[in-house]
Amino acid sequence: MLKGIILKIPSDDTIVETIQTFVENIGLTAGVAEEDVTSLSIAVMEVVKNAMEHGNGGDPKKLVTIYIDVYSGRLQFIVDDCGTWQPDSELGHEPEEGKALISSRGRGVLIARNLARWLDYGLNPEGKTRATLIWPLT
């Protein structure tokens, strides 16, 4: 089983597609069904793009670290950035009505959480933002 994969990447838009493909292939290797790997990769990339943009302010010198592990029955992605953001409560479940609804932003976390079913934010041992996303394997 795949265990211990660690990927560190600069906060650089040009690498996003490469990482998305990488996540899809990891998914296939881990046994995610072919028709589900893009959903998986979209979920993970919503989180990774937020880490690059909001956590690291788009500074290419700041890295995003992705830890990938396969456990029995689940594929786990941990995404660390250099920020210290930690949402007070589960965010993203309830998009507001009215103005917020027609914003062109603000749906990344929501989409990731809905696709992956499990997405949690917290701080890593160094006190930096850590997102944990779990994809069930059947």
Binding site: D13, V16, E17, Q20, T38, S39, I42, M45, E46, K49, P95, E97, L101, I102, S103, S104, R105, R107, G108, L110, I111, N114
Partner: protein, 113 residues
């Protein structure tokens, strides 16, 4: 992502296929919407029948397009969203602002006015 445009019964039909996700292609889609807005006279039918995947950036472009068109007094409707995309609209509640159709001629009749 591929973008095809045609005028049908006076409606601008924009057909997308492939992945509508962050990347250089999205800029192109933005421009297409901008052109439709500047065009002034037309409603827009967005055919998503061959779009398998969309992320938050793709949705963002659709929402901006919708907002700009509405501001100009035009309408934008969506045709043939796949099950996955339809679910995305539900998750994000965008289903409440997007008009959707599953039949092209019905959509055109409604939009051509």
């Amino acid at each position: 992502m591929k973008i095809k445009q045609e005028i049908k019964d006076g409606v601008m039909v924009i057909r997308l296929s492939g992945k509508v996700i962050s990347g250089p292609d999205l800029m192109e889609l933005k421009t297409v919407f901008q052109t439709a807005v500047n065009n002034e006279k037309g409603n827009v039918l967005l055919d998503l029948g061959h779009v398998a995947w969309m992320d938050s950036s793709g949705l963002g472009v659709l929402v901006s397009g919708h907002t700009s068109l509405t501001r100009e007094g035009s309408r934008m409707a969506i045709l043939n969203a796949t099950k996955k995309i339809h679910e995305l609209f539900i998750i994000t509640k965008l289903i409440t602002i997007f008009e959707t159709f599953t039949d092209e001629s019905e959509a055109l009749t409604s939009l051509k006015e």
